[in-house]
């Protein structure tokens, strides 16, 4: 037997660990600031870069991809080498992964506040960054599979299965959801529209939760929990069933994000059924984790690593029970669009991902620096502050969600809405929003203490850049060098193929009908492409992140049709690249906003929301009144939209589009004059925003006298009929 001497690379683990700690503070701070803006709307101090709409994607991206992402890489780079008894496949790829990933995060931190966003949740970054993500992820995947190929341990431990599933599925999801046509360096339109875009987005969005926040962390749990508890995994059999069931089912459940929307009912039911089934493998994994601690519970009282892990696994169990519950249509009808969803995701993010990441950090730092943890007391403070933070976050948000959901649905005995003014239901929640901010502060303070503790730990030790080890080399029959076919034939190769097949089945069953839907979407003669001014206005709506607080999807409930108007139809969104249905109503739904108020109301409302809606928590948008529309980019936008299927006539963007835009602007300026608002420049951004808001949901209202225009008609005809 040949014994190899080799070294594990700890340097890359340290780099990801430090990045994890730093980005955690950034992500939590952004979240806290966003949370405070909901009860203190002027907190952005007039700065457009940090309004809630722009801050929210920054917060989610920083927490998911920066904090959790770096933590995931940290854990994988540490455990993979040891489980494979091999150094990482290629050091250059490792560092490319590190610097590339963190450069992407910096790019996100710059572009999102500037308003460069696709508006698709957890996929907000624009196309050049999307390409960078794909390249870096491929580098990571090659490094992962190459290390597995060079392994000296014959069998692949279950953690590695989860890593493989993560690497492959995230690549598929990211590429599938990022199919877009550029309209400039930082602007693109997705190739999908309306219903299709919504389904692809939530196929991605749901599985980003599954394969970025769940599967890699389950793999890390299966490695670090036995290490910390010094106990073998409770049931390896259970872990096998856990893995296959989980990756197979998860991918089907995306449509549960779209219950009661214009998505076909069969797809909603399929999503609901698989979501309910998902509780079985999830709890299998949770129980396997908790039972691994059998005989080691006495250690949990003393060891902060185990404390953090127990709460993390418990939070995973709670979130994965709640998720299927929320996917039941009747429950979802109450919870959707409310803070209940926010509570749910934070149980997962703060509890499961956050606490497991800190458990790994507390476990790794003393070992990487060959020292002891600086302070047990500080670690305990971190634990309790974090736990209290989760409680103070989640409980008020559950309360707020249920309160608002019930208020939206309540009718008087006479059959009228009890709270017809949406704002009434928001004002009820302000105390909950304040409590939530206390929770966030506690969690952030805990994280700061943890950071100090880890820093002092590192300072007290000597970093061990590499660890030299010896291991017997494997016989060459499973992975001889340079033999691609043998690689495929080896277990790891087959395993990879099978994982992809398992994941792709669910995706295919959703995507095949997607094409069927496309061929069956009714072409409503009254639904027309947006006018050039509306296109620019819509892009401003996207830039400002309005979708973070306002849905454009009226569900077919009496409580919604009474409040907002006719429920939303699939055929109304065929030119919506991207769809803007939203997932949260901090403000009211806007799908039937068009024509509801005069232009002057919108002008005043955007300048100071409290002048038209006393008590509103929406921030003012005074810059819309002074900044100019980006008219130069209009041709590129029209061209890109034509490429993705919007039927603008060939050459329309050269002259007609601008003439059309000017005509529509002039009408809005005249309307504003009529409303005693004079001297508004016709090329001010507010004009585009008003045009778009006044268009919303009017297509089916404007028929038959206004918009009976055949597909071949130029959108210029539309302008004439778009006046509020």
């Amino acid at each position: 037997m040949k014994i190899d001497t080799f070294k594990y690379d700890n340097g890359i683990v340290r780099a990801f660990a430090i990045a994890t700690v730093v980005w955690a503070l950034v992500g939590f701070s952004a979240g806290l600031l966003a949370a405070c803006e909901l009860f203190w709307p002027g907190l952005n101090a007039g700065l457009q870069y940090i309004t809630f709409g722009r801050l929210r994607p920054l917060h989610t991206n920083a927490v998911i991809f920066a904090f959790v992402g770096n933590g995931m890489f940290m854990g994988i780079y540490y455990s993979l080498q040891r489980l494979c008894k091999a150094r990482m496949f290629n050091d250059k790829l490792s560092w490319f992964n590190f610097w590339g990933w963190n450069a992407i995060i910096v790019a996100a931190a710059i572009t999102l506040p500037l308003g460069f966003t696709t508006s698709k949740e957890y996929a907000e970054l624009e196309w050049p960054i999307d390409i960078a993500i794909a390249v870096v992820w491929v580098a990571f995947t090659i490094n992962l599979l190459g290390t597995i190929r060079n392994r000296r341990e014959k069998h692949l431990y279950v953690a590695i299965w989860f890593y493989i599933a993560t690497a492959l599925t995230v690549a598929i999801l990211h590429i599938g959801n990022s199919m877009e046509v550029p309209a400039g360096l930082f602007k693109s339109y997705p190739v999908y529209a309306g219903v299709q875009d919504a389904l692809v987005q939530w196929w991605y969005g749901h599985n980003a939760v599954a394969f970025f926040l769940t599967t890699p962390f389950l793999g890390l749990m299966y490695y670090f929990l036995p290490k910390a508890a010094n106990r073998p995994v409770f049931s390896y059999r259970l872990s096998i069933i856990h893995f296959w069931s989980l990756i197979f089912i998860y991918i089907w459940a995306g449509p549960h994000h779209l219950l009661y929307t214009a998505l076909p009912d069969w797809a909603q039911s399929l999503g609901m059924a698989f979501s309910v089934m998902l509780v079985a493998p999830s709890w299998g994994g949770m129980l396997n984790g908790l039972l691994t601690l059998r005989g080691a519970w006495d250690k949990v009282r003393q060891d902060p690593v185990l404390k953090f892990m127990v709460v993390a696994i418990t939070a995973y169990g709670m979130a994965t029970l709640e998720g299927p519950l929320l996917s039941i249509k009747s429950v979802n009808s109450l919870s959707h669009y409310t803070d209940w969803t926010i509570a749910h995701v934070h149980t997962g993010a703060l509890g499961w991902n956050g606490f497991l990441t800190y458990a790994m950090l507390y476990w790794l730092f003393p070992r990487l620096w060959e020292t002891k943890l600086y302070s047990l007391k500080l670690a305990n403070w971190h634990f309790w502050l974090g736990l209290m933070g989760i409680m103070f976050y989640a409980i008020p948000m559950y309360w707020a969600g249920v309160t608002q959901g019930l208020m939206w649905k309540e009718f008087t005995p006479d059959g009228f809405l009890r709270y017809p003014n949406f704002l009434e239901t928001v004002l009820q929640l302000i105390p909950m929003y304040r409590l939530r901010a206390i929770g966030g502060t506690l969690y952030l303070v805990g994280a700061c203490i943890g950071t100090y503790n880890l820093y002092r730990t590192a300072k007290s030790g000597v970093f061990q850049r590499e660890t030299e080890v010896q291991a017997a080399s494997l016989e060459s029959d499973t992975h001889s060098a340079g033999s691609g076919h043998r690689w495929l034939e080896s277990k790891a190769g087959w395993f990879t193929v099978l994982s992809v097949v398992a994941v792709m089945i669910g995706g295919a069953v959703e995507i095949v009908p997607l094409y069927l839907i496309k061929s069956n979407v009714p072409t409503l003669s009254s639904v027309k492409p947006y006018t050039p001014l509306e296109v620019l206005g819509r892009d401003l709506y996207i830039r400002e992140g309005c979708v973070g607080c306002h849905s454009q999807m009226i569900r077919p409930f009496r409580s919604e049709t009474e409040r907002y108007g006719e429920y939303s139809k699939a055929g109304e969104f065929v030119f919506d690249h991207p769809f803007l249905w939203g997932s949260k109503r901090t403000g009211p739904d806007l799908h039937r906003q068009g024509g509801k108020y005069p232009d002057a109301w919108h002008y005043n409302h955007m300048e100071d929301p409290r002048s038209t809606s006393p008590g509103s928590i929406m921030p003012p948008y005074p810059w819309l009144l002074t900044q100019k529309l980006d008219l130069k980019s209009l041709p590129a936008r029209i061209r890109a939209l034509r490429k993705v299927g919007v039927p603008y006539p060939e050459g329309y963007e050269r002259e007609t589009a601008l003439q059309n835009l000017e005509a529509q602007s002039a009408k809005i300026v005249a309307n504003l004059n009529f409303g005693s608002i004079s001297n508004v420049p016709p090329d001010a951004e507010i004009i585009g925003m008003i045009a778009y808001l006044q268009r919303l949901g009017t297509d089916i209202k404007s028929a038959p006298q206004a918009a009976v225009i055949e597909d071949s008609a130029a959108p210029s005809d539309v302008v004439v009929n778009r006046n509020p």
Partner: protein, 69 residues
């Protein structure tokens, strides 16, 4: 005219049946696969994270593992 005809796609009910059948097939195959594994193999695999002792030095014992207890 404006109707959500998407709900009337022909033969779409089949998807639900096929999906559930697929799931149970995958689940049962995984179950059989797991049950057929030998105990020695399972014992070896479940203890695999513990086999790596490169970092068990000063931190392997909980007691005395912290500077400021």
């Amino acid at each position: 005219m404006i109707k959500n005809v998407l709900t009337n796609l022909g033969g779409i009910g089949l998807y639900g049946v096929v999906s559930v059948c697929l799931f149970f097939t995958v689940f049962n195959v995984a179950l059989v696969f797991a049950l057929l594994k030998k105990r020695a193999f399972l014992t070896h695999m479940s203890a695999l994270p513990l086999a790596d002792d490169t970092h068990s030095g000063p931190c392997s014992e909980l007691k005395g593992n912290f500077r400021h207890e």
